[in-house]
């Protein structure tokens, strides 16, 4: 009996001593609590801030949250942070929201993630660059499009092939006059050359290329009286104004040319009513057709906004 009791007591004391040693390790002690708390806090923080994908295709999306740009290639399962500070995406003359990227200021496809960024150099000068990844975000490169450009307003980037791409910008606005520029690359964005000047100081509405030779610039965002569309047929060496034959009854209705699209052997152009248009609700557009690669345009008909084929 005595022996048994003493053995049990000894075992208990040994256990208590070990327990004391374990308990004494305060780092361990606080770790238990810390772990739960950190998990809890992390979850709490994650929930409201969970990245909300803005989809650009079925699986590809980006998220602009917490002043970070993240992209995903699997519908948000995995996110890759893009090494760009948020302010670079919106620098220049931009007053829109900062939860979505400026339309057309990026290209996000399976093989390419390109973001146009602007750095303010001070005294009204900016630097326009592209930050690109061709391996779904594993590595990133930065290439300069233009340095010393006036304060950027309009910005657009697109790549038509894996060689040819363009950047269209406008900037240096005073009242409703500004400079507009076209930059082209033939080596997938490594080097950029500026196309010849357009000598137009009306505000740029949109611009774009349909192949590596043919490009368009559309002008007039504030109270235009007719569509103004310029075209180049030689990759930006020379520009001519395209002739758009707006039927008399549609004059002063269809005012701003959008960027033409290719359709079979002809080109199609939509001309919208601008922001003040009120013809049939203001959303109806005029469709024009060109058979000479965009130099002259003839009216085809009205297009309801939901009939648009783009």
């Amino acid at each position: 009996m005595k022996k048994l009791l003493l053995t049990v007591a000894s075992l208990m004391i040994i256990c208590l001593a070990v327990g004391l040693y374990v308990y004494q390790d305060t780092s361990e002690k606080t770790k238990l609590t810390k772990d739960i708390l950190e998990d809890y806090v992390a979850n709490q923080e994650k929930l409201p801030d969970e990245l909300q994908p803005n989809f650009v295709s079925d699986d590809i999306a980006y998220a602009l949250q917490n002043e970070e740009l993240n992209i995903t290639y699997d519908s948000g399962e995995n996110w890759i942070q893009v090494p760009i500070q948020q302010e670079r995406l919106f620098a220049g003359e931009y007053n829109g929201n900062k939860q979505t990227l400026i339309p057309d200021s990026y290209v996000l496809t399976e093989n390419r993630a390109t973001f146009l960024v602007v750095d303010d150099l001070g005294e009204g000068a900016t630097k326009i660059s592209l930050i690109s990844s061709f391996d779904q975000g594993e590595t990133w490169d930065e290439s300069v499009v233009s340095e010393g450009y006036p304060l950027v307003r309009f910005r657009k980037v697109d790549f038509l092939t894996d060689k040819f791409g363009y950047v269209i910008t406008s900037g240096g606005r005073t009242m409703s006059q500004e400079l507009s520029s076209v930059f082209l690359t033939m080596d997938n964005g490594l080097n950029w050359t500026e196309a010849s000047d357009l000598d137009i100081t009306t505000m740029l509405s949109d611009g774009g290329f349909i192949d590596d030779k043919t490009g368009f610039m559309s002008y007039g965002t504030i109270t235009p009286t007719r569509p103004t569309l310029y075209t180049t047929q030689d990759a930006g060496n020379t520009w001519v104004e395209a002739r758009i034959d707006v039927p008399e009854e549609y004059e002063e209705i269809f005012l701003i040319a959008e960027i033409p699209t290719k359709a079979d052997n002809e080109l199609a152009l939509l001309v919208n009513q601008g922001s003040d248009g009120d013809y049939l609700g203001g959303k109806v557009k005029g469709e024009f057709i060109s058979t000479d690669n965009g130099l002259t345009w003839t009216f085809k008909g009205e297009v309801q906004p939901d009939e648009e084929v783009r």
Partner: protein
């Protein structure tokens, strides 16, 4: 007499075994179910109780030679001294403060790590255990004050390392049968107390105290549980408003609430909670 001694001896032995089981249980399961002693000093106290019970049961149940007695007593003394020593040395590292509710039903415990200035607030669980609820950062090495505004609402006031006053409220469970609700919305209206007026309106809560009026908009009002809110200004707590036990709300929002609320200033100085009664509109 001897019979009694034996019985008591067995009881002490059982007590020792029971406490030992508890102690081992706590050590083994605290990481899995996240429960620990509400006051870490309890661990040492339980240790001491185990060995003393064990020693008493030995004394009552067994007979020892003088030499054996000396050895056992020495061992007992060493063990007790070590535990007391560790308990004290730990208190200088982690300060544990606890406060019991007026009706003795709840305990708030704060373990304050003096080296990291972090404190963790624990809510009691079966009396001697606690569950960590919230982490308080930058807690200064000043006294942490507790004020029970109701039997289930404790306002905890502390100073931060950058000398700001912070307050948080430990609340214990839901009182009503309805689900989560917003305290600020439930106390909509005008409340009058001694030299104090509180108005909860669409813009926020206005407090007039000692002829001084301050508006706290909803962005500066933080709710704790379902029983209290803390009003802040410049990241510093200013006031706590809690619902008293007699406060009743109705699921049907067209019926007005009944009962009182309590206003408590966030300050480390002398400070009494103010009882507020609703001013009925006619």
């Amino acid at each position: 007499m001897k019979k009694y001694a034996k019985l008591i001896g067995i009881l002490f032995l059982l007590l020792a075994l029971g406490l030992f089981g508890l102690q081992m249980g706590v050590l083994l399961i605290q990481s899995t179910i996240h429960i620990e002693y509400i006051d870490y000093r309890l661990f040492y106290i339980v240790n001491i109780l185990i060995v003393i019970s064990l020693a008493l049961s030995f004394y009552l149940l067994l007979s020892f030679t003088k030499m054996q007695k000396i050895i056992l007593t020495s061992l007992l003394t060493i063990f007790v001294v070590v535990n007391v020593g560790l308990m004290i040395s730990n208190q200088s590292e982690i300060k544990n403060v606890t406060s019991k509710s007026p009706d003795n039903k709840h305990i708030v415990s704060i373990k304050h790590n003096l080296s990291t200035n972090e404190a963790i607030y624990y809510r009691d669980y079966y009396w001697i255990f606690g569950r960590s609820m919230e982490r308080l950062k930058n807690v200064a090495d000043e006294e942490i004050q507790f004020e029970w505004l109701a039997n289930d609402v404790a306002a905890v006031t502390y100073q931060t390392t950058n000398e700001q006053i912070q307050q948080f409220v430990a609340t214990f469970g839901y009182r009503s049968t309805t689900s989560y609700y917003y305290v600020g919305a439930e106390i909509h209206g005008t409340w009058i107390g001694e030299g104090t007026e509180v108005i909860s309106g669409p813009e926020g809560i206005t407090i007039t105290h000692k002829q001084k009026t301050e508006l706290f908009d909803w962005d500066h009002i933080e709710q704790f549980g379902t029983l209290a809110i803390v009003l802040r200004e410049n990241n510093e707590a200013k006031w706590t408003i809690s619902l008293n036990e007699n406060f009743e709300m109705h699921a049907d929002s067209s019926k007005s609430t009944s009962g009182d609320i309590t206003l408590y200033q966030a300050t480390t100085g002398e400070n009494e909670p103010v009882l507020l009664k609703k001013q009925e509109t006619h």
